[in-house]
Symmetry: C3
Subunit: 283 residues, 3 copies
């Protein structure tokens, strides 16, 4: 049995690809996502005509929920480094940021943790009012591994980055736009047409100009690759600790990774459950 494809690529034209992500009821990321994203990035890197790629989801309420807490940790730990020398989870995001094409995340639902890290690795983030972003890792006893400490501070400023990362709460679309976490909010009824028109514009432009501009913006805005490595090391050192397991158990009892449980307001729910757990310990 072959592994199902999670990234569905629609080649709208030779210069414009539309990629729809699909993995389970809430679009989690897992080890297969790492492998398949790596392959997709290599295709994007090598294509001579491509100027723009749009990432989207057809799953109601979810762009990419977050990393699959049930994923095989040993498989992830055993993965060989990518071309940058980084673990492929990070290698993907670092290379995705540098592809010589414009990449756009069209976010109409939740995208937290690894999903937030994915959209932060793309160039441009358009969100509808249904989008919710966040980095809830702090509430799970972990340091986020995919680079948000390096990226968010540069994108939204230190104060807002620390609120997002240390608060770990849900960031609704309006606040995300106010903070610069996303570019702007486009009404949900219009965002497909808006993003498509934006992509068709860029698809009509000369790849030499698109790639030449991006290369210089990269110099001005991207952290050195080496800055990302300690984040992933900190994630591995913190996320898998045995003391985190009882809380994961509690999350699964409350519908974690299911569309109708606590995933809906996960950031808020984690805070509430953490505090109720703490109170039980104290009493």
């Amino acid at each position: 049995m072959s592994t199902p494809q999670q990234f569905h690529v629609h080649e709208v034209s030779s210069s414009y690809w539309r990629v729809t992500f699909d993995n389970g009821p809430v679009n989690v990321l897992d080890p297969d996502t790492i492998d398949q994203l790596g392959a997709l990035i290599e295709r994007i890197e090598k294509d001579p005509d491509l100027t723009v790629v749009v990432f989207r989801s057809d799953k109601a309420g979810y762009f990419m929920a977050h990393w699959d807490a049930l994923a095989d940790k040993a498989r992830v730990a055993a993965m060989a480094p990518g071309p940058t020398g980084l673990h492929p989870y990070l290698d993907n995001f670092v290379r995705l940021s540098r592809v010589p094409v414009a990449t756009v995340s069209q976010i109409r639902g939740r995208t937290r943790g690894a999903g937030s890290e994915f959209v932060l690795a793309t160039d441009i983030r358009f969100a509808s009012e249904k989008a919710i972003l966040g980095q809830p890792e702090v509430g799970l006893g972990a340091v986020p591994g995919g680079g948000p400490m390096a990226r968010l501070g540069r994108l939204v400023g230190r104060g807002r980055a620390l609120e997002i990362l240390l608060g770990g709460d849900d960031v609704p679309a309006d606040l995300a736009a106010e903070y610069g976490y996303v570019n702007r909010v486009i009404p949900d009824a219009e965002i497909e047409a808006f993003t498509d028109a934006f992509a068709h514009r860029i698809a009509a432009f000369d790849k030499v100009a698109v790639a030449g501009i991006k290369k210089l913006v990269d110099i001005a805005t991207l952290p050195e690759d080496a800055e990302f490595a300690p984040g992933l090391q900190a994630f591995f050192a913190t996320a898998g600790r045995p003391e985190n397991q009882p809380f994961y158990q509690l999350l699964f009892e409350n519908g974690f990774q299911q569309p109708d449980g606590i995933e809906a307001d996960l950031g808020t729910a984690i805070g509430r459950l953490r505090q109720s757990t703490e109170r039980r310990h104290l009493t």
Copy 2:
């Protein structure tokens, strides 16, 4: 007679401290503030369980007015360097930014000059609509000493940083949020509860995660310590010049450092008085 304590620490729990600042009718900062803040930071640095500290004021209209213009300059000049090798005024702010806990400024009144420098050294700034921020030093013939040239440019971008620092005018809460000078505006009637709930969230999280995240955001967002030193040197070289004294005289005649005088709209008042003084010189 012992020196009155300016920072009142309420240990809400082992992981959450609430610190209320209190110094005179408008909460000025003075040499005692430097000493006491240094001691408080050392306590915060060493505490094994602390994850979040909220700074606040109970003084109507004032968070921290600014540096006390009547303070003993010789005492300040004679202070021994702190652990970073910087003068303790700067050493405090540099170390405050790096404490392994989340620090939150809850700003319900004016905080200018040294007060603005203090809140910029904390991680997260929540402001009510009653907050007014600013760096009025330029209008007093001085370069600000506590780091806002290094911090504001990175936080709000070059254009807005230069408007704030070269214009020297009052920045009301709404504009401060639009510019990113504060994280966001929370209605004054709600901000105590809002900040308290935010702090209780973080207090329920694992210190390993909080400290680990902050350390990496620090790498991405904080200037090198050495970048701060020229600012304080420039402050010492400009602030105490004899030619500034007549204007300070004029400010005190107009209620400087009193709650009901020009402190209310100090940034605006400085511009007005500067221009009227200039006109008198010309006529």
Copy 3:
């Protein structure tokens, strides 16, 4: 016959200059602009009393349209490097950013391409609701040459910088303020008085403070001069390619560089014309 002066300097006082730009029906920039701006910057650099300069336009609808597509390319290519060692087009912008006075762009109309690069090289950008900014070069097959890849990423963050530079579309005043491309929007009926009052404030301040503050903000916010050079090299390598010429022809047929043609909505028009051209090629 002498070359007409494009920068009209009104010395409001010894510390405040108001400079009105005027060059043709839509205020294009051309080789004379480079020479005259260089001379003006030298005057500003050397003036002992100046603390603030306001740049403005009296041309309805236009601050500075963009680079003159009909300008003599050989003359530009032959220009000797400026004091920084950079080509004078870039040398001007780099030195303008570092003059020891506050510089303010009062933008009441369109300012795109080289015009956007000019305002980005000034310190503070106040825009009325009639302002439109943009970097349409990508749609003309070129990498912008005057530094926006270096400046915009630091000013508005990577995501919004890439949207502006790779989308190449018009950025109306409100969106420009939301993104931080301009400081803020001031109603068109008030912006002259607002900017004038802001300038009079700074004109009443001590030059030692103004210059001392700006020097330290420069350290925190300006790219190294060397970061700008590859952008201009990329511009020269891409902008003059023969394959770009038919599209310029099409633009001139549609009123390019005329106040009532496609200049009004140039960013949008370029996208539309590019896509219609592409469709013709395909059919």
